[in-house]
Symmetry: C2
Subunit: 192 residues, 2 copies
């Protein structure tokens, strides 16, 4: 089994698809983002990498708040649109027919149609070169009632999107369950 | 459509599953991680959140290098095992029968069986509370020749794992392709 060197720019792994929200000049705007990751658990924090020239970036710097909204497969077109078009050129909320609401933070816009919405307060902004890595403390999570089963969020109802880049940039549905985490590996403990 | 408040600790979105590698006392060790995200494109950087008491964390601090390895679905048991057991208690390389190799950095161990391997140099370590957010510059990417199609990495051959937490912590396969990114959203531009 041979290995091929691909150079450092081949960042191949499955990524979540999210819509980052911020008020810009007091108006809600959203951009698509896949470069996100959980950064901390106590307190809960999340990171998102955004280019400084982006319209949404301006809103995040202005308010030091933002939101992360998890779109379902049904919102794939709207999500992709929010990744193509700049908020400086179009009213994306109108074009996507998003119903916007606000939660605890008052100025981090949330999308009603997205099954999961996180409200975040900026705690760090790291300028790393092409992107700012924005680290936000999660202040509240909203989940659509229709996506709960027995009171718990249910990924089969949330139907999130996954983004991959190779061999082409595309959106995937989440696939079948393969095994229980923190459990199926115990088979190896027995084997040892 | 109502929303339910879940509190800030409900970090619900699909996450990639990776194996983070580091040499600890000159011996290769790997831990499973899902709290990763791309942090920058020029130069390419990636972040991973790791608790400071973890054995792998010690190795990363010692060498200021680490690797990210993308396991395929076939390595689910081994991957989960690497998330359950500490390297201070077991030789995980042996238990998982990993073939370890080194690339450009000499001391960031890579797993032959994983279709994709990233070699990273630490550029920042942010202590955020429970976790350190480790930001690494990607120095090289290795891809298994068997996972290429026409010389390009092919996600259908890589078969990565996805991790979700709700309603239960579980591993998924990647699902079907739903649409082309930076393309399918143009339908809304036309609609406007």
């Amino acid at each position: 089994m041979g290995k091929i060197l691909m150079g450092p720019k081949t960042l191949i792994y499955p990524m979540p698809v999210l819509l980052v929200g911020a008020n810009v000049d007091d108006k809600p705007n959203f951009m698509a983002a896949a470069w996100c990751g959980i950064a901390n658990s106590e307190p809960p924090m999340i990171s998102v990498a955004i280019q400084p020239h982006r319209y949404t970036h301006r809103g995040i710097r202005e308010n030091l708040t933002f939101s992360l909204n998890v779109p379902s497969v049904d919102l794939m077109r709207e999500t992709d649109y929010c990744g193509i078009i700049s908020g400086s050129k179009a009213n994306k909320v109108e074009a996507c027919q998003f119903s916007v609401f606000y939660g605890k933070l008052n100025n981090a816009p949330l999308i009603e149609q997205c099954p999961v919405n996180l409200e975040c307060k900026v705690v760090h902004i790291l300028d790393l070169g092409s992107h700012s890595l924005i680290i936000g403390r999660v202040e509240e999570t909203h989940v659509s009632e229709s996506c709960l089963t027995d009171g718990k969020p249910d990924v089969d109802k949330i139907k999130p999107l996954i983004y991959t880049t190779e061999p082409a940039r595309q959106y995937h549905a989440l696939g079948e369950v393969m095994g229980k985490a923190f459990s199926i590996g115990r088979e190896l403990t027995a084997r040892k």
